[in-house]
Every structure is written in structure tokens, then in C-alpha cells.
Symmetry: C2
Subunit: 467 residues, 2 copies
């Protein structure tokens, strides 16, 4: 190979690595064809030559049926390294196709926190079969984790970590790490926790600090004070917030007595953030948990409940219209204009709602500023109301040549946008106060309010003024 | 201190650390009172006793005016450590209140990537004044970073990293790190990049691996192959996707020739994820960038544009209703029922849209499965349509005692929910194909389609069948 070719090859390798942002469409096709031809070797080959994360991406492109067929044909291509990278939906499909022994083998290859995620996806019967086939240590650890609630920090926690007493020196710690049996340490760690004799964490030493310090330095000298600790009962969302706030690469987990009991790594937190954001966005749009689901029937099931509720509220709004049938039959322009008032209110309410939900999730709204933010939203609603009353009044006048009608729609617009401002902030805050998720159900309450009130105010004012 | 008190104290300390998930309301009050009394010392004291991340949280609770007053009174309390933790909005308020020298001092205390974020917030005039006051090295590095586009990976990149040639041994690398001047190394790093003679990255060695390896081991033996590299031109969202996919603690950045030129750390990526998710959620709800803004007028400005567009589309939908004035004046029930059809379509469309936007963002929709997903959404729309036609038809019959009216609303519901399914998936995919952000403007297109078509189909069928 001539020397001059080298940079070029490297540039290509770089392109390929940076290209990981795209899923390998060729590999997806290869697997799909291999599955269709029931060619186990070809499935295995196509997946095995990829990085496990890329192989997982490819699997996520397949339909549920294709995934299951692939896993049944070539279970060896679905080892722990690939399963660890799969989305929950795809993981569920794969484990449905594997037998307990195959799943147990995969678990033995996985990092502990990934194994917990896998076991979560198993139904009770399969779970106990798989647990029976695991080594006693792994089984005990998994059973311990599963005792913590779903979506709690305890489920994210791995039980391997490195800790050292504060009276050790840097040299002492380095020797300890070098000599420890590899199984007793986590595969990867970014910091060492310093503990007191009762095993309470006191601080941490980043490995990059450790590497640079003199061997004779006391750990207490290079230790950074702890910025945050996690408890296993903490909601995973709260744990994620601590990582975001304090820029943590990992965090110590302590038990009820404050003793160090585990560690959470940032890569798991990145996944939690993804999950929580997706949940919020789908909840706001009225899609149930299994929102990114695969099959048509799963998709329907995830959407029907909120559509049914929306039907109820839409009928409620229509009942309001129905009470004004008489005035509408005399002035059909009201039937034409009423949806504009309702639509603007719904839109403004949704805007405020999205801002409130994000602000609550990122802890930007607290008891210290809630009054100011509510006032801001109401004021903004009032100003928006004035602006759009001033725009819509003249439009209604030009359209229907009635000053009174213009006044009615202007006033209704003003009132409904004010209501939208109020509902957009108070509904999510109220749900939060009641201990409910502010993203779930907020939309329904807000748009019901703006629809019902929008129709009622507009048609009510029309009855009073125009008749 | 008696021995028996110890666990208790530690447990308290733990509570306090785990308590970082809540903003310190007392501290917010203290700062607010101190600002009102123009007591510079009290402002400084209240903020200085907190962890910088907590101090930043407290500042984020203040109004823009309070923040500026606090920064003017006690500029020393707004050092680099606090500024690095502030949200963009709060940061903007603080830097407005500081003079160029104060900002330059803060920058010298900050990590490089945080300094870039700060300088981004300065207006051109202030930026050049601040740059003039910086040390030449820092100024050069900042100017280099600012050449990359906003929201590109180049802006997140720090230029300090640790690299070693592949022929070194572990001992050689450890000695190099120990002896390097502290300024030449990043404060914290999790891995060392192994490079070839032309400075192309070949792999990485995690510090935890390095610590455990024998000094005589060749780096090439303990090196993990690179899973991903970032280029400075890459969108920050793509870089974040690589971190998520490959569980990276940091990633090497390479220049156009594939040479190692910088490093991105996971804590910056966590911030990017926050930003991007917030952007998507607000965009879907029709709120402009400055969505979490502070003042009433900023709030109004962030919402008026989309409300204005919504007004336009609502008028369009009303124009459709207006063309059916005659039939409505004869059968007022149509004015009562039409909004139900539109509302259900809007809701179903929004559901599909939210799922599509999340799936596009997380790369779950690709060329390999787009056909299947579009088909799934259309099928789900059809099934939802059948379900709600079957529910709404009888309701309309019971309400208005007209079989024909029941048939009309059932048919309109079916058609509009099918349209909603189509629009919910095709609009975001189309925007994406055109190179636009699928979250922005999608809602307007989808709800316009479902409103206009909903009204048209329902009133049109009514005209055909009922008259």
C-alpha cells in the first residue's frame, strides 16, 4: 500500500464513523431479504458485521413480524450486546421470539442496568423461567433491582462501583484497582467515591484527577465534595435532573441509612431523558404510552382512548351551540364565525400549555416564581386577545357588514384568549399540584375550556346584542 | 461530638444532596429581598454559599429585572462558575448587566465550551469589547469556535483533549499525563484518543481501562476501536444522536482531513438534548424560539406569529362553512355538529403528528420503513374513522332523530379521520424532505387540512343527501 493513499483511507473511515447518524439501509434490506428467504446464516452475517448499536438500529427498522422471524432464525445474532441497544418496543419483539436459555445467555453478556431493562420487558412466566437459568449472583442482583418501582432510580442503578476510604492515598487506591478481580469492578467508571467508615459517601475523585495526582497524596486532598446523591426510590426523572444540573458523568446511589449502595451512569440518564421527553410530547398530543408502537392495532389502541374523550368534549361544545339554535337559524353568519373564536382559543391555550409543561419539567416554575409566571400568561392572553379582537372585528365587519357582529366577535375573541391564557397555565399547574403528570390530560381540559367558553361567549353575546 | 450522632448527620447531608432536585425557595427569597433593599453584600452572600448550579437555579427564578439588578449590585456573585450553569435566557439578562471586563474575567474562569455559549449571547458590539479584554489564546480559540455555525457540533467542541500515539505503552501515557503542564490538559476527561502519525484518531482508551492495565502494555492492545467521530460542521442534534446511540462519555472531533481537532463531552450533549426537545415541543404547539421567555412582551411576541397564521386558516375554514350558509339556515343541526367532525380530525391529526415528529427525531423512520409506517398511519386512521363513525352516527340519530343526518356525520367522520391519519404522517415527512424542521409549521398544515376538509365533507354530504 503506498503511503499517499493513507490519508484518503482515513478520511473514508472518518466519513463512515460520522455516518453513524444514518441507519444502514443496505443492511436493513439484507436482513429483510434473508428473513424472507429464511436464510439464518445470511441474517446472522448481516447483523454480526455491524457495531452492536448499528445492528440494533437495523432491527428497529424491521416490522414486529420480521424482527421475530429474524430472532427465531438467528438467535445468536441477538446477543447481549445487541439487546442492550434495542428500543423497548423492538426488545419486546425479540424476547418474544427467544427461549429462556437464550435470554439468560444474553443477560450474562450484558451490563447489569441493561439486563434490568431486558427483564422488565418479560412477562411474569417468562421472567421466572429466565431467572431460574441465571447464575445465583446475577439472579439475586436482578431480583433486588426489580423490587424498586418501575421508572425509579433503583432500576437504573448498577451495583458495581469503586469506593475507597478517605484515609487512603492515591497510590493505595490505584494499587487496589489494579489488583481487584476484574469481576468486582464495573467495566467502565469515571470516578471513585470516597466513603467514611460507615460507608457514607463523602466525595468523589475523577479518574483524570487520580491519574495526575502524586501517589503519596491523600485522597481527602484530591476529593471533590459530592454535588448530588441519588436514592433508589427517587423518580428517574428527578435523578436525570440532578445529572443535568450538576453535569455529572455518574452519581452515587445511597440506601435509607445514607450508605453507598450503587452507581448510575450518564448513558442511562441520556436514555431516561429521551423516554421522558417522548412521553411528555405524546401525552400532550393525547397518545398513550405505547405511542411509537409498531402494529396497526397497537397504534389504534394507543389513540382511541383520548379520541373518545375528545368526542365527549366536542359533543359538550356542540351542546352549547345547540342551545343557541334559534339565533343561529336567524343569523347564519354566527355558525360561520363561531369556529374561529374556538379555534383561536384552542391554539393559544395549547401554546401556553406546551410552555408550562416544559417549564415544569425543567423546574423553571417553582413556588418562588409561580405567581409571576401565572400573571405573565394572563397578561399575554389579554394582550393577544386585544390584538386579535382588533384584527378580527374589522374582518367580520367587511365580511358581513354588521358593526354589532364585529363588536360581538371582537369581545368574544378577547375573552376566549384570556381564558386560554388562564387555562394554559392553571390546568398543568393544577394537575401537578394533584400529583398527576401535567402533560397528561392537560390538552383535553384546556381545549374543552376554550371550545365551550368560546362558543358560549360568542353565541351568548350575539343573542344579547344582535337579537 | 458523640459517635451516635454521626449516622444521623450523614443521613441529613444525604437528604440535602438528594434535595438538589428542588430549587431552594429560601435562597430565592433572600436574594429577592436583598435586591429590593439594594443590599449588595446580602446578594453576594446568598449566592456564594450555594453550589454554583444551585445559585444558577436561584437566579433563574428571578424576573429579568431582578436578575439584572442583582448582577449590577453584586457582579462578583456572577462568576464563571455560576454563568456556566445559567439557562440562555437568564444568561442574557445577566450579561446585559455586566461590563466587558467583568464578562472577560468570568470567561477566564470558565470551561471553554461554556465560554462559547456565553459569547454567543453577546451582541456584536459587546462581543468585540469582551474579546479585546481576553488573553490572546482564549480569544483565538473563541474566535475559531464562533466561525462554526450556531447549533453545530463545532460550537460544543473543546480544543483540549488527551491523545497518544499507538506505539506508546500504558506507562508512557500515564507519565505523559502526569508531567504535562496542567493548562495543556482538559480539567476532566474520561478517555484518551489514540492517533496515528498523521493525527487521525484510531481508537480510545477509557481511563478506567488505563488504570487497570499493566504499565508495559502497548496502548494498541487496550485500545477500543472508535465507535463514532464528530465533525465540527455536524448539526448538534446529529452529534447528540451519536452519543445516545453509542453510549459515549465523550467523542473525538475531526477536521476535514480526518485529523483529531477537539473533543465533545456528554454533559454538553445532555444540554443539547434538552434544547432540541424543548424546541420540538414548542414548535409543535406553535411557539417561537424564545418560548420560555421572561417578560410579557417577549411571551406575546413568541406566540402572535402562529396565532396570526391560525387566524388565517380558521377564516379559510369559515369560508368553507359560509359557502353552505343556505343548507345551515335550513338545518341548524349542521352548525351544531360540524365542529365535532373538525375537532376529531384535528385531534387525530395531532396524535399522528406528535408520533411522527418524535420518530423522525429519534431516527425511527427511515427510507427502509417509511412505506410501512405511512401505511400503518393510514390504516389506523381508517380504523379510528370506522370506530368513531359507528359511535357518532347513533349519537346524532338519538339527538336529531334523522337517519340521514346520522349517515352524513358517520361518513364525514370516517373520511376526516382518514385524512387526519394521512396528514399527520405525510406533512412532517414532506417538511423533512424539503429540508425544513418537521416540528415547525406541521400543526398548522394538519389542522387546516382537517378543519377545511372536515367542514367541507360534512356540509357537502349534508347538501347532497339532506336537501
Amino acid at each position: 500500500m503506498s503511503e499517499t493513499n493513507k490519508p484518503r483511507e482515513n478520511a473514508m473511515a472518518t466519513d463512515e464513523l460520522a455516518g453513524g447518524v444514518h441507519v444502514d439501509a443496505q443492511a436493513v434490506d439484507d436482513v429483510r431479504v434473508a428473513v424472507a428467504q429464511r436464510d439464518a446464516d445470511a441474517v446472522e452475517k448481516a447483523l454480526d458485521e455491524l457495531d452492536p448499536a448499528d445492528a440494533a438500529d437495523v432491527v428497529e427498522q424491521l416490522s414486529a413480524n420480521e424482527t421475530q422471524a429474524a430472532a427465531r432464525l438467528a438467535p445468536d445474532a441477538f446477543g447481549g450486546d445487541v439487546l442492550a441497544e434495542l428500543s423497548d418496543d423492538a426488545l419486546e419483539d425479540v424476547v418474544d421470539a427467544l427461549n429462556p436459555q437464550q435470554i439468560a445467555d444474553a443477560i450474562h453478556e450484558m451490563e447489569f442496568d441493561d439486563a434490568v431493562q431486558l427483564v422488565e420487558e418479560l412477562d411474569d412466566d417468562m421472567r421466572s423461567q429466565v431467572l431460574d437459568k441465571l447464575s445465583p449472583t446475577v439472579r439475586d442482583s436482578l431480583e433486588h433491582s426489580l423490587k424498586f418501582e418501575e421508572d425509579s432510580a433503583g432500576r437504573l442503578m448498577q451495583r458495581d462501583f469503586v469506593s475507597a476510604p478517605q484515609f487512603w492515598t492515591v497510590g493505595h487506591l490505584i494499587d487496589y484497582v489494579r489488583e481487584a478481580p476484574p469481576d468486582s469492578l464495573p467495566d467502565v467508571f469515571y470516578e471513585v467515591y470516597i466513603v467514611d467508615p460507615a460507608f457514607h459517601p463523602l466525595g468523589s475523585v475523577a479518574l483524570s484527577t487520580l491519574l495526575r495526582a502524586e501517589r503519596s497524596t491523600a485522597l481527602s486532598k484530591v476529593m471533590a465534595p459530592l454535588r448530588a446523591v441519588v436514592t433508589p426510590q427517587m423518580d428517574q426523572e428527578d435523578a436525570a435532573y440532578l445529572f443535568e444540573k450538576y453535569d455529572l458523568p455518574s452519581a452515587p446511589v445511597v440506601d435509607a441509612e445514607g450508605r453507598l449502595t450503587g452507581m448510575i451512569m450518564v448513558d442511562d440518564i441520556v436514555e431516561v431523558l429521551q423516554e421522558e421527553y417522548t412521553e411528555d410530547m405524546l401525552a400532550l398530543a393525547g397518545v398513550n404510552e405505547a405511542g411509537l408502537a409498531d402494529t396497526i392495532m397497537e397504534t389504534v389502541r394507543s389513540r382511541v382512548p383520548w379520541l373518545a374523550i375528545n368526542l365527549g368534549t366536542a359533543i359538550l361544545a356542540s351542546a352549547v351551540i345547540a342551545t343557541f339554535s334559534e339565533v343561529i337559524s336567524k343569523i347564519v353568519a354566527l355558525a360561520v364565525l363561531a369556529p374561529i373564536v374556538a379555534s383561536m382559543g384552542g391554539n393559544a391555550g395549547t401554546q401556553g400549555l406546551a410552555v408550562a409543561v416544559r417549564s415544569i419539567a425543567s423546574r423553571d416554575i417553582t413556588s418562588s416564581n409561580v405567581r409571576r409566571i401565572v400573571l405573565r400568561e394572563i397578561s399575554a392572553g389579554l394582550i393577544n386577545g386585544l390584538i386579535f379582537a382588533a384584527i378580527m372585528g374589522p374582518i367580520a365587519y367587511l365580511w358581513f357588514h354588521s358593526v354589532l357582529l364585529a363588536i360581538v366577535i371582537g369581545a368574544a375573541m378577547l375573552i376566549n384568549l384570556l381564558i386560554a391564557g388562564l387555562a394554559g397555565i392553571l390546568v398543568p399547574l393544577g394537575l401537578k399540584k394533584l400529583g398527576a403528570d401535567p402533560a397528561v390530560a392537560s390538552s383535553v381540559f384546556v381545549t374543552t375550556a376554550t371550545d365551550v367558553i368560546g362558543f358560549f361567549v360568542f353565541l351568548g353575546l350575539a343573542t344579547l346584542i344582535l337579537l
